[in-house]
Subunit: 134 residues, 2 copies
């Protein structure tokens, strides 16, 4: 898969919310580095789940500058959560088979990031990916 | 100034802390979009000041992937603040004269970002850029 093909599939998955495409795009051992926590989540299932929850949380999601460097991408985006504006970037690195092995997300500003943290924690607890007595 | 020359000067300014180079690199009407606050700061003086304070706050600062797209850069970095690790990205857009007109910073994770916010607020208050009774 070329970089252009990868990007086209990625957009179908997260912008058009055709999440099953993620099964082909994510490596089994993918690391997800969240905007809020330092320690990465590891593996395809939890990463797919988080990407689905985040993309459902975001309103008015749009990609802007799309940087490429070798097998890495930097995808700038804007969105809203409960009407609060945010900017962010997806930093994606593909492995030799063209699958995502490293996914890092950064988001500004702080108030919206705190809101995302609250909402994501509740979703992950409800789904059993996090203990309820954090 | 070519993109490569710009990057070389930028590194001298912020990695080697030769801050006066920023006078040549920043446009008069530069907008600084911080990782913590939504509303940008406008103008060369406040932007230079913030870049100086942030770069003095960071320990073990290193650039990693350096993305380029037309007259934009995405410069991935890592650093520590009081021993706490962080990742971040500088999103930089140059104007037609090759000077920085738009500067946006995103940082993860949340605990380190909160620490940076506290420290930056105190510095900006001490320097008179922010009221002391926030």
């Amino acid at each position: 898969m070329s970089n252009a093909e990868f990007l086209s599939q990625w957009h179908k998955a997260v912008v058009d919310k055709d999440y099953d495409i993620l099964d082909d795009l994510l490596a089994e051992n993918v690391e997800f580095h969240s905007p809020t926590l330092w320690k990465p989540k590891e593996g395809k299932d939890i990463t797919k789940y988080i990407l689905m929850v985040i993309s459902q949380l975001f309103e008015d999601f749009k990609y802007h500058r799309q940087f490429e460097l070798d097998s890495s991408f930097g995808l700038e985006f804007s969105a809203k959560v409960e009407g609060k504006a945010l900017k962010g970037i997806d930093l994606i690195r593909l492995n030799d088979e063209g699958k995502i092995e490293h996914f890092e997300v950064m988001i500004r500003p702080l108030n919206t990031l705190n809101l995302i943290f609250e909402k994501m924690t509740a979703e992950l607890q409800a789904a059993g990916f996090l203990p309820k007595d954090l």
